[in-house]
Symmetry: C2
Subunit: 434 residues, 2 copies
C-alpha cells in the first residue's frame, strides 16, 4: 500500500508562481506530492495517513538543489586555503587527491551528504571519480543525485568506458533517485577529439553533459591562444550544446557567450562561494538571467567553498550582484530562491523536482521558525533568503521518505560518518607529509 | 568570594600571536581570564572552581565583537528588501522608524541580543535612539556594549544634551559592561557647526566618536559639491579625528582618505553584508589593512543585512575581497578572524577585550565541533572562518558569567522576546498601512 504522509499548519512556500499558503497543507502519496492546499484535511484523509507532520507554523519549501559539487572533496576541507590557484592545486589538492581511495570517497561523500541534508539540500550534482562509491552513498542515504564520472581527456579513453559502464549501471538507479550525465572535465583538460567521442556517447546513451566552463580568466585566455575563440564558442562549434548541457561556473563569459548559452538552452551552475574564495571572479548572472539563461546554484567542492550550505549560496548570489553592481534591486529574494529550487530541477533535467505542486516529487524541507534571525517575519521569502541560518532546517523529505526528522538523521549514522571521514582525511593528507 | 570557572580540554584559539592550544585550559576569576595554558589544572585548582566546563575538544575562542549596528532595527527585518536606497529609506524605513517607541526599541534590542549571543557575539556597538532602553536591555542580558545616542545635526541640539545625559548615566555602567561614545550620525546629516559642538563635548567628556562615513558614492559626491573635499578630509579638517574615532562603512574612500585614516588612528567598522545588500559597494579593506588602519567588522542593522551573524561577516569580508580583486591570498583566515576579535576591541577602545590571554576580560565562546561542516579539521581557524555555521556556538561567557550554556540562554526569556518583538514589529509597520 502506498505510504501517505500529511504536512499540516505550515507556511508553505510553493515556488509555484510566488504562491505562499499560510496555513498550508500538503498531501504526499509514495514519492509524489498529490495535493497542496490552504484547506485543512478532512477526517477521512487523516485516517488514510501513515504519518502526519504538524509543522506548527514553520516554513515548508522545496528541497534545495546543489547543481555542482565534488562531494568526496569534503575530506580536503580546511586542508589548504588562501593560496593562489595553481599553488593550491599543484602542491596541495592534486597530491592529496592522488591518495584518495574507493573507501575514502565513500566516506567523504557521506560526510557531504550529512552536511547537505542537514542544511536543506535534497538533490546534488556530483562530478568526481570512484563514482560507484558515490552512488552507493547516495543509494544508502536516500539522497537524490545527478552523477557524472569526471573525465580528463588527456589521459586516454579509459574514463569514457568507465563513464559508459557507470551510466548503464546507475542511471535511474536507487528507486529512480540517481540519474546520470557525462562529465568531460573542461575544455582545457579535454581536447576536441575527446570531446567529440564524449558527444557521440552522449547521443548514443541519451545523456546530458556536465562540464566546467570559463571558470578562470587564465583558461579563457589560453583557449583564445589555442583556438582563437572563447571556450563557450569552442564547445558550441564542437556541437556539445546539441545535447542538454550543464555548464559549471561561467565566470568569464562575454555578451556573445551569454547569447550562445541562451540560444542553446545551456544551463549554468553559478558557484559564487567557490568563485570568490579561489579568486576566480564574479559571474555576470544578472545578464544571464535577463537573457533567460537557466541559472542554478552549486557549492563546488568543500575544499574551495568551504561548506555545502546552499542557503549561503542563495544569499551570496543575491548580495554579491547587488554589491558588485551597486544596485540593490538586482537578484531579488524570490529570484535567488528560484535558482536553488525550480531552476535547479531544470538544470539537472529533473522536471518533477524543485516545486511544491501536484505530481512533483516529494522533496520537501521544514525550517523551524523559532530562531531569533527569523523574527519578525514581514516577508517569509526574505526571511529565508537574507537571514535564515541553514541549521534551522529541522525535517527533510526526499522522494516521499523522511530522511531527517526534527534534526535527527534517519538513514545515516552521523557519528560513524564523522569518525570515518576524519580517519580517511588524515590518511590521505598524512601521506603527503612523508 | 570571587567566582572561579575552569574550561578544560578545549581547542583554544587565543587570537594571541596565532597560538592554538590543543588541548588548552583556561582559568577565569571573576570577570577576567587569569591563565591560558596547555597544562591541565591540578587538583588544588579544581577544588577552588565553582564551575568546570569540559569543552571535550570543542573550539574555544574570544567572543566576537560587532562594531556597528542599530539593534532596534531588527523589528524591521524583512520589512523592505531589494529596493533602491532612497526608495527604501523614504517610503519604508523612515516612516516605520517614526513609529518606534521606547518599548519597541527595548524588545527589538533584546531580539538582537538573543541573536548575537546565540551566534557568538559578546560585544556590540550600537548607535540609535531611545538609548536608555537599549542600555536597559544590555544591562539585563549580561551583554557588553559600546552605546552611542545617534544624533542628526539638522534637528537642533536636543540630541546633544540627551547624549550628554546618556553618557553621564551609563558610561561604565552595568558593572562596567557598558561604555559610551558620542554618535553624530554622518557628515551629511550633521553640519560643521553641530560637529564642532560634538567635538567640544567629546573633549569635555573624554568620549570617542562613532560616525557613519563615506558609505555611498552619492554622499561623497555631495560632500565634494558642498565642501570641495571628501568626507574623510572634511572630518579631518574639522578636527574630529583629534578624538578617538570609529568610522562605520568607509566604502568610498580613496588612497588619500586611507592615509588620513591611518595617520589619525581612525578605526573602521567594515559592514560588508549591509554594503552589498544596499548596493553601496565594496570597501577597500585590503588597502586599509596594508596601510595599518584598524579594521573591525559590523553587521549594521538587521533591516539591511538581514542578520546579526558576525561569523557570516567574517567569511564575507574575506571571500568578497578575494573574489572582487581576483586574488585568493587576500584577507586570510586569521586576518578575517582578527577583525572580529582583537581588532574589534581596539575599535571600541576596549583594550581588555578580544583575546584569550591573562588579564583580558573573560568574554569567551565555545563552538561545538560535532557538525558535518567542521569535519575534517586540518586547520581550526579555516574551519571557523570558512565553513562554520554560527548555530554551532553552544556556550557563551561574558564578563566571566555564563550567558548561554549548551544552547540555552541563561539571562533572557527567549520565547517572550520572540513574542514581544513580533508584536511590536507588527504595531510599528501596521500603522503605515493605514
Amino acid at each position: 500500500m502506498t505510504k501517505v504522509t500529511l504536512i499540516e499548519n505550515a507556511v508553505v512556500i510553493t515556488m509555484d508562481k510566488e504562491d505562499i499558503l499560510n496555513p498550508g497543507y500538503i498531501l504526499i502519496e509514495g514519492d509524489k506530492i498529490k495535493k497542496v492546499s490552504s484547506e485543512p484535511f478532512d477526517e477521512e484523509t487523516k485516517k488514510t495517513a501513515h504519518e502526519i507532520i504538524d509543522a506548527q507554523g514553520n516554513f515548508v519549501l522545496p528541497g534545495l538543489i546543489n547543481t555542482h559539487t565534488h562531494a568526496g572533496m569534503s575530506l580536503l576541507r580546511s586542508y589548504a586555503d588562501d593560496m593562489s590557484l595553481m599553488d593550491w592545486l599543484e602542491n596541495k589538492i592534486w597530491p592529496a587527491e592522488g591518495n584518495l581511495t574507493s573507501e575514502s570517497i565513500y566516506w567523504g561523500t557521506l560526510l557531504s551528504i550529512v552536511e547537505m541534508i542537514k542544511s536543506g539540500t535534497t538533490t546534488f550534482a556530483d562530478m568526481y571519480f570512484f563514482m560507484d562509491d558515490v552512488a552507493r552513498a547516495v543509494q544508502e542515504s536516500g539522497m537524490r543525485a545527478s552523477l557524472s564520472r569526471g573525465m580528463i581527456g588527456f589521459k586516454g579513453d579509459d574514463s569514457l568506458y568507465e563513464a559508459k559502464e557507470f551510466v548503464k549501471k546507475w542511471h535511474n538507479g536507487a528507486e529512480g533517485r540517481i540519474t546520470c550525465m557525462l562529465g568531460p572535465h573542461a575544455p582545457y583538460t579535454c581536447p576536441p577529439e575527446f570531446l567529440n567521442k564524449t558527444l557521440s556517447m552522449a547521443h548514443e546513451l541519451e545523456m546530458p553533459i556536465h562540464i566546467h566552463l570559463s571558470e578562470t580568466e587564465g583558461e579563457v585566455t589560453d583557449n583564445y591562444k589555442e583556438y582563437n575563440k572563447s571556450p563557450v564558442e569552442h564547445l558550441n562549434e564542437l556541437g556539445i550544446f546539441d545535447v542538454p548541457t550543464l555548464a559549471a561556473h561561467c565566470v568569464h563569459v562575454n555578451d556573445e557567450d551569454i547569447r550562445i548559452l541562451a540560444d542553446n538552452n545551456v544551463s549554468v551552475s553559478h558557484n559564487i562561494g567557490s568563485n570568490l574564495k579561489l579568486g576566480s571572479g564574479i559571474a555576470p548572472i544578472d545578464k544571464m538571467l535577463s537573457e533567460n539563461v537557466t541559472v542554478s546554484l552549486g557549492t563546488d567542492g568543500a575544499s574551495s567553498n568551504n561548506n555545502l550550505d546552499l542557503l549561503e549560496e542563495v544569499r551570496l548570489s543575491s548580495l554579491v550582484q547587488k554589491g558588485f553592481h551597486e544596485n540593490p534591486t538586482l537578484i531579488n529574494a524570490y529570484t535567488a530562491l528560484e535558482m536553488a529550487t525550480i531552476k535547479g530541477g531544470e538544470t539537472l533535467k529533473l522536471p518533477e523536482v524543485g516545486k511544491l505542486a501536484p505530481e512533483y516529487k516529494a522533496d520537501i524541507i521544514v525550517i523551524d521558525k523559532n530562531s531569533a534571525e527569523l523574527y519578525p517575519r514581514h516577508d517569509p521569502i526574505a526571511n529565508i533568503v537574507y537571514s535564515c541560518n541553514s541549521n534551522n532546517v529541522s525535517t527533510v523529505i526526499i522522494d516521499g521518505k523522511i530522511v531527517m526528522k526534527d534534526g535527527n538523521l534517519q538513514t545515516i549514522d552521523e557519528e560513524k560518518v564523522y569518525h570515518e571521514a576524519d580517519k580517511h582525511a588524515k590518511m590521505i593528507t598524512d601521506q603527503d607529509k612523508n
